[in-house]
Structures are given as structure tokens and as C-alpha cells.
């Protein structure tokens, strides 16, 4: 790591480049403020950029996200750091924040990469592709995904064997293994925290067999299977490549469940499961899709109609709590569940099971301020100090929260909350 610490100043720092952070950055920049957007990942876009279609309109997620991320990347008022993290924030006074940022080397000179993928072609190393939720491989020299922003290659140095093949193949000679971690001190007048959420890890419920039974998937894995840039040629079981016939959804996996320490409703799982079930019926017209639920919470605009539409398409709904999943010799899965309406324990066989995993807090921002000034709510999301009168405010004056960093919400609500955060930030800057 180089010892040099670079200094820069902007009007606003936005941490997290998902839909909420991206939207907040655009709002600020469109109002003439200079923004630094710091994103941990190699691309902005957060989880939304990896979705298939979106409820309740079934619009293509990429068609909405791609123009948005390109507007963010090209905006003269926004500087984007990808592969970067905030290590500390200090409030020196009103409208005076000092943030330490670390930017990992990409080993590719971003401005010179033409995204030709020749490096990827020659790289001999294959590892699990995290952007396809490990369903397929990627190279150690790779472009994260086709609509990534920036669409620039990166070298996965932990898995690279330093053979040099990529560097030899790169036409503009932009691969640079001399790059080092860069450190910055950033001065800004305000900070927006938009670090998003984490997904529940289903390994914490061993009785569902995730990780052991290969045909038990998470909803995010199914999201990738349904996307146009899917990992397989069509929807297939990861265990043996079978095109599934009978698909089950287990709702509330890791939500509303005290036994795993998350009593809250994730708010999105019912709806994204209804969405995926409808998309599956479109992709596999002969398939039977069954949703095992405790309650269907379709409370938003157009959501109840979306639920009715799913029923009308022939999706089955079973009010039942799944206790255990076991696997047969053929890789099929037997769901043992309590039928709540019939009040008895039942078993049903399916080809594939999708766990509708819940929303958990990303606790990264809680350590940004050294003395814990940024408070968390009782579930470890960023606390909204005045949730009714000023929902973007946090416990630190001048620091605002946008999107799922403050709790589970869908895309429209994340965008609304980004609007609230940016306008509160602008008012604060103008005070």
C-alpha cells in the first residue's frame, strides 16, 4: 500500500451505489452539487441491477437500471469510486465532515479498458461467479457482468496465478499489476448513507438443506436464472441440469422468525416470490408452482391485483409452515409442512425449492463514526431519528439515510427515500 494520502473535497458524500445511493447522488448533482459516490463493489447498481424483472409492473430490471447507472457514471457532477470503502468519518463541525476512504486496486486502468474481454478469454483460472450467485464460473480476469458500470475488467488477485496471459492479450495494455491500494481523505458538507441490506444466509436453517441439497436455491439465485443474462441456457436444477416441473417457494425464510434472531417482516419476499412464480409460469408453461406462506402481505400500490393475477395464472398457494426439507435419490425434495388451514402435518414432493430469503441489516455504517455517533435501531438498521417528521435524518446532524440501509423496502420506496435524503441534505447544506 502506498503511504501517500490524497485529499479531495466535494459537497456531498454518498456511501453505497445501489438504486438508493445512485438516485440520491443524481438528485444532488442535478441541483448543482458536487458528489462523491463510494461503492464497495466493482460496479454500481446494487442488487437491483442483478434482478430479472420487477414487481408489480414486470418491467425489465436491466432496462430501468442501465440508463440510470450510465447517467450516474456520465454525470459531470458525480465522481464514482468503485472497489472503495469508507474506513472512518469524523464530524469536525456543521457542514464539515472528514471521511477516510480506501480504494482497492483493480489492476486495470479504468479509462483505457475497452471491455473487449480478450483478457477474460485467455485467463486460465475459473472460480465461482459471485454475480451469478456461484451457479457458474468466471475468470480471474473478468468484467463483473455485461451491464456493469463501469464496464471495465478487473483482476481477482486472490485467485490470479500471475501467469501474465491477460496482460499480453490486452490490446491497449491497460492491465497494470503495479497498482496499489489508494487512501483518500475526503472533505464534504454532508453525508448520505445508502449501504443497502444483506440477504439472510439460509445455512442458518440447516433443516432446509440449503448447500447440501443442490436443488434448494435462494430467491436471488432464482432471480439470476430468470434474468436475460442467466447462468444456464434455461431454468435448470443446479444439481443435475433437469428442467424443473414442480417448483416450491418457502416464504419468510429468515424473516418473522425469532429462532434465527430476525422477528421482522422483510416486506419484499411475498411480492418478489409472486413475481418469480409468474415469470416461471411464463418460462416453463408446463410447470406447477406452489407457494408455501404464513400470510401474503400485498400491501403496496397494485400489489393485491398482482397477487390476484398470480392466482389467476394457476399458481397454488398453501397456507403452511415448512418444517423440514429432505432429498430423494433423484434429487427431488420432500417438504414436510404444517397445513395451517387443515391443521395437520403434510408432505409434498417438488423438483426444486426456492427459499424466499429475508432482508437483514448491513451493519457497515455503524462503525463509520469512531464513537458510535451513528445510532442503530433495535434491529441494527440505521436509526431514523425522526421517522415521522423527517425520515431521512439520522442521529448525526448532516448525515442522512437512503433506501434499505434504514430497513426493508422495495425499489419504489428506496427511490422515494433517496429523494427525501437528498432534499434534506440540500436543506442542510443551504442552512
Amino acid at each position: 500500500m502506498s503511504d501517500e494520502i490524497r485529499a479531495a473535497s466535494y459537497d456531498a458524500l454518498v456511501i453505497g451505489g445501489g438504486i438508493a445511493g445512485g438516485e440520491a447522488a443524481l438528485d444532488l448533482a442535478n441541483n448543482g452539487y458536487k458528489v462523491l459516490l463510494v461503492e464497495k463493489d466493482l460496479s454500481i447498481g446494487g442488487k437491483m441491477i442483478l434482478l430479472s424483472k420487477v414487481f408489480p409492473t414486470l418491467d425489465c430490471a436491466a432496462c430501468i437500471t442501465t440508463p440510470k447507472v450510465s447517467e450516474i457514471s456520465r454525470h459531470p457532477g458525480i465522481t464514482v469510486f468503485t472497489g472503495a470503502e469508507v474506513t472512518s468519518i469524523e464530524k469536525k463541525g456543521e457542514r464539515e465532515f472528514e471521511t477516510a476512504v480506501t480504494k482497492r486496486p483493480r489492476y486495470v486502468v479504468e479509462e483505457d479498458c475497452t471491455a473487449c474481454q480478450l483478457c477474460e478469454e485467455v485467463c486460465p483460472v475459473v472460480v465461482h461467479d459471485e454475480y451469478q450467485y456461484r451457479l457458474v464460473g468466471r475468470k480471474a480476469a473478468f468484467i463483473p457482468f455485461s451491464i456493469a458500470s463501469p464496464r471495465v475488467a478487473a483482476i481477482d488477485i486472490e485467485n490470479c496465478t500471475l501467469c501474465g496471459a491477460c496482460e499480453k492479450a490486452c490490446p491497449p495494455k491497460c492491465i497494470d499489476f503495479t497498482q496499489e491500494t489508494e487512501k483518500y481523505i475526503i472533505k464534504t458538507g454532508t453525508v448520505i448513507v445508502a449501504t443497502g441490506f444483506k440477504l439472510f444466509d439460509p445455512l442458518k436453517i440447516p433443516r432446509y438443506g440449503y448447500g447440501v441439497y443442490k436443488n434448494v436455491l435462494t430467491s436471488m439465485e432464482m432471480e439470476r436464472q430468470l434474468a436475460p443474462t442467466r447462468p444456464f441456457n434455461t431454468i435448470l436444477r443446479p444439481g443435475d441440469g433437469k428442467m424443473p416441473d414442480r417448483i416450491a417457494y418457502v416464504l419468510c425464510t429468515g424473516s418473522r422468525d425469532d429462532t434465527i434472531g430476525n422477528p421482522v417482516c422483510s416486506q419484499i419476499c411475498c411480492m418478489y416470490s409472486l413475481k418469480q412464480a409468474q415469470l416461471l409460469m411464463g418460462a416453463l408453461p408446463m410447470a406447477d408452482v406452489t407457494i408455501y406462506y404464513i400470510n401474503i402481505r400485498s400491501f403496496g400500490k397494485g400489489f393485491e391485483e398482482f397477487y390476484e393475477q398470480a392466482k389467476g395464472m394457476g399458481i397454488s398457494f398453501v397456507k403452511g409452515k415448512v418444517g423440514k426439507i429432505t432429498e430423494t435419490e433423484t434429487g427431488n425434495l420432500i417438504l414436510r409442512y404444517e397445513d395451517i388451514n387443515e391443521n395437520r402435518v403434510m408432505e409434498e414432493e417438488h423438483d426444486m425449492v426456492v427459499l424466499a430469503v429475508g432482508v437483514l441489516p448491513n451493519t457497515d455504517p455503524l462503525s463509520f463514526f469512531r464513537n458510535g455517533e451513528l445510532k442503530a435501531d433495535q434491529f441494527s438498521f440505521v436509526d431514523q431519528a425522526e421517522v415521522l417528521s423527517s425520515p431521512a435524518r439520522t442521529s448525526v446532524k448532516g448525515v442522512f439515510v437512503a433506501g434499505t440501509a434504514s430497513g426493508p423496502m422495495d425499489i419504489p420506496d428506496s427511490i422515494l427515500s433517496a429523494g427525501a435524503a437528498s432534499s434534506e441534505a440540500i436543506s442542510y447544506l443551504k442552512q
Partner: protein, 92 residues
Amino acid sequence: METEKGKTFRYLREKREVSQDAKDRLREFNRAKKEILGALKEKDMTVNELGKKLDRPGHEIMFYLMTLVKYGSVEAGDIDDMDEYFSYKLKK
């Protein structure tokens, strides 16, 4: 140290050791690739058929096979009469 454009990997090679894990993964992928491409040279096969022939679990075959499809050396062929399993073939 080598910092000439196009040869900078030599610079990092002097500073950093390649992990044993990375070397093992590379060896394992090359082995699986050779086995799968060798088997498909004989005839088109489903994931289960490849698994049986190569004595590897289905999910492992899926991962390597789909990666070979992604990088263009294998392609999906026909699906069986039950509309369940595709066979896979070498891409000409």
C-alpha cells in the same frame, strides 16, 4: 523490478506469492475441463450421463459444464422426450 507496460505481472510476482488454493483450483478446473471435453468428443451427453461416466456429482458437472458453455467450448443440444434433460455437445 519490471514495470514495463504489458509485463507488470512480473513485478507483482516478485512481491506476492500465488496462493496454494488458487493453484489447486486451476489444476482442478483443467482436469474437469479435459475430462468433460474428452467425454463429449465421444458423444453428446446429459449432466447425469457425464456424472456417471466421470464419477463426479451432478452439481460439479453442472458448474464446470455451464462454465464451458459460457466460455464457448460446449453448447446445449436437444432435450429428451420427457422435456427434462438437455444433452450437451462440443461447439464446432
